[in-house]
Subunit: 367 residues, 2 copies
C-alpha cells in the first residue's frame, strides 16, 4: 500500500515547504545525465549557486547527497591524518565537524562555547594563532541552537596561519547574509532543504582556488570514491570533456536550478529582509505568550528561531497535537536542549507573517 | 534562465524513464523527515525493498546517495585497513570496488576476466579458498559490458572461509533474478535509476545478520559520518525511537516507494520475463542490421544489451543524431570499449518491444 501524504506547513528545522514551481520541476521528464541538456542544467545551477554564495569560485556545485554529505565531502578531501583542525563547538553541528575530523585521523582542537551563544571570535582567532591548523571551522547557522555566527576578522588570521577557513552555512544560505568571497571563506557547504526551499538530497559546496592548491598537495589520495574531489570535478566541470563519475540526481538538480532562479529573481537582500521580518514578528507574537528567545539579540539565526517554553507547557504533547490536528510541524530541541526549547523554522517560502499567524492561530488552543 | 527539458526515450545505461506515477510522487507536498507519516513511508519502502531483493534481512533500506554511494557505504563499514578483499574484475564496476578498497587500506586480490565475459566461478572460488578474504565481491550486472554474473556455489565457499559475499546488483535488481537469501549474499547494493524506474539519488542496500555480526567486531569506528552504519540504523530503523542522523531525501523516498509498489504489483517473475523478451527482440531486430552481441548467450544482462557495431558505422555521429533529432538516448562504450560498442538499456517501463520498434524506426535512416 502506498502511503498517503497530506499537505502540511513545515515550520521545523527543515525541510520547509517547497514552492509549487520547485515541486513541478521535480516531476519533469528525465534526461540522461550525460546529455548536453543536463550539462546545461548543471552549468546554470553552478552559475546560480555562485550568485547565492556570493563567490567567484569556479568550483561551486551540488554534492550528490544531503547536507551532511557536504561536510564529509569537504573534510575527507581537505584533511589528512595528523592534520590539525580548530573548530567552534556550540551545538550539534560543530560537534559533528569535530567528531568526523577525529575519525579521519586529525588532531582536533575544540573551541567550546555555551549552547545558544555564538563562538567568541577573539578566542577562536587565538586558537588559530596558537595551533596554526590546516582548517579552522565554524558553523555559520547552528541549526541545533538558532545561533548565527559572526565571522568578521577570522579570514585574516587564517591567512597569516596558512589555514583554510571552513564554514557550515546549511541554515543560513539564502536566508541571512553569506558572503563567501567578502568573508574570505575557503570552503563551505550547505543543504537544499532549508532557505533554498528544495527537498533534501543535495549539498551545495564552494571551494576557493587557495583551497584547491592545498588539496593538490595532499600526500595520498582522498580515501573515498564517492567524495573524491578530482573525480567529481572531471564530471561536474569537465574542462575538455566530462568523464562519468556517478549518476547525478537529475530530478533534484531540476528542482535546485528552479529554486535558485527564484532566489536570484527575488534578490538576496530582499530575501534576507523577508526572513528577518518574519523572525522578528514570530518572536514578538510568541513573546506575548511567554516564549522567550534562547539566543541574545545580535546572535540570532532568522531562518530558525529557538524559544524557551512558557512555564508548565507540555511541549511534546502540543507539538504532537499541532502536527496531528493542525498539520503544522515545529521542531523539538536537540541534545541538552531536548524537551526544553522549540525550534521554529521560517525558511524559504515559509518566511512570512502569514506562516506565523497560522501557527499562532493553531497554538492558541493550547496556551 | 531556467533550462527547458524535452521528453526523451532513455535507452542508455541509466537513468531510464520514470513512470507517470513515479514522477507524480516526486512532486507530492513534503512532510518532515521525523514525521510519523514519513516513518510510514520509510517502513513501507523497506518492506517493499525486501520483496524486491528477495530477502528477510531486517537491515534493508535506501542509502541517501546515488548507486555509487551504496558501494562506498558497504565497503567503508565492512572493510578495515589490512583486511583482504577478493573481487572479480571484468569491467568498470569491479574495478571501482577494487580501487576504493585499496584506498581504504585493504589488501585487494583481483580475479581478472576479459571484458564482456562473466567471471569464472571456479577461479573465483579458488581465490576465496586461497586468500580467505573478509569480503568476496562480484558485480551481478556489469553496466560497462552488459554481463550478468552467475553466482551459483559461491556462498558455500564464502561460508567455509569466513568470507562475506558482496554483490553489486545496480543494473540487475528488478530486471533479472536477484535472490539475496537463496544466493547466500551477505551485503548488496543497487541504484534507483535502472530497473527500479526511479530517478537517480538513492542506493538500496541489504545486509545479512551474519554481516552485521562481522561489523560489530570492527576494531575501530567506521571512518565516516555520512555512511556510519550504526548511526544510520538508529535513524532508519529506530527500534525504541529514531535518532536524527541526516535528513533523508524525502521526495526521492516517495518516488522509490511508488516504484517498488508498481514492481511488486507486476510481480518479479513477470517483470524479469518482460525484460528478457524486450532484450531478445532487440538483439534479433538489430542483428538484422549487423549489430552483434558482445556477450555470449547465457551471460547476457537483459536490462542492458551491448552490441558490436556494423562495419563502417559512425557511432558517435549516429548516437548524437538519435539524441538531437529523435530524442532517443543510447549509451556509448566505456573504457577499452569506448567507440567500439553501443550499450542499449531496456529498463523498467522502457523494457518493451515498443521501445525497440521506436529505436529501429529512428535508426533506419542511418543504416
Amino acid at each position: 500500500m502506498q502511503t498517503a501524504t497530506t499537505s502540511k506547513l513545515l515550520l521545523g528545522p527543515g525541510p520547509c515547504n517547497a514552492s509549487p514551481s520547485v515541486l513541478e520541476a521535480l516531476s519533469r521528464p528525465l534526461v540522461g545525465h550525460m546529455d548536453p541538456e543536463f550539462f546545461d542544467v548543471m552549468e546554470s545551477t553552478k552559475s546560480l549557486l555562485r550568485k547565492v554564495f556570493q563567490t567567484e569560485n569556479k568550483v561551486t556545485f551540488p554534492v550528490s547527497g544531503t547536507g551532511s554529505s557536504g561536510m564529509e565531502f569537504l573534510l575527507v578531501n581537505f584533511l589528512e591524518p595528523g592534520d590539525t583542525l580548530v573548530v567552534g563547538v556550540n551545538g550539534v553541528f560543530g560537534g559533528r565537524i569535530a567528531s568526523l575530523s577525529e575519525k579521519l585521523g586529525a588532531n582536533v582542537i575544540r573551541v567550546e562555547q555555551e549552547w545558544g551563544r555564538a563562538v567568541d571570535v577573539e578566542i577562536f582567532n587565538q586558537a588559530i594563532r596558537e595551533h596554526r591548523p590546516k582548517i579552522a571551522a565554524l558553523v555559520n547557522g547552528e541549526t541545533s541552537t538558532g545561533v548565527y555566527q559572526n565571522v568578521d576578522g577570522i579570514a585574516a588570521v587564517c591567512r597569516e596561519s596558512d589555514t583554510l577557513f571552513f564554514i557550515d552555512c546549511v541554515t543560513s544560505l539564502a536566508g541571512m547574509p553569506v558572503s563567501i568571497d567578502e568573508w574570505g571563506v575557503d570552503v563551505a557547504f550547505s543543504g537544499t532543504q532549508k532557505c533554498l526551499g528544495v527537498p533534501p538530497g543535495l549539498a551545495p559546496v564552494t571551494i576557493s582556488d587557495r583551497a584547491l592548491e592545498v588539496y593538490r598537495k595532499r600526500s595520498r589520495p582522498t580515501p573515498s570514491f564517492y567524495f573524491d574531489l578530482d573525480a567529481i570535478l572531471a564530471y561536474v566541470d569537465g574542462d575538455g570533456g566530462r568523464s562519468y563519475h556517478h549518476t547525478a540526481p537529475i530530478s533534484m538538480a531540476f528542482a535546485l536550478e528552479t529554486a535558485l532562479q527564484e532566489i536570484v529573481d527575488e534578490g538576496l537582500e530582499a530575501r534576507w529582509a523577508r526572513h528577518a521580518d518574519a523572525a522578528a514578528y514570530l518572536r514578538e507574537q510568541l513573546g506575548a505568550f511567554g516564549f522567550a528567545p534562547v539566543v541574545p539579540e545580535g546572535e540570532r539565526l532568522n531562518p530558525l528561531t529557538t524559544l524557551h517554553l512558557p512555564e508548565g507547557f507540555d511541549e511534546a504533547k502540543v507539538r504532537g497535537a499541532l502536527l496531528k490536528d493542525h498539520d503544522i510541524e515545529v521542531g523539538a530541541g536537540l541534545g541538552p536542549l531536548a524537551g526544553k526549547i522549540w525550534r521554529i523554522g521560517l525558511m524559504a517560502s515559509n518566511a512570512s507573517r502569514d506562516s506565523v499567524d497560522t501557527l499562532i492561530g493553531a497554538l492558541k488552543d493550547y496556551l
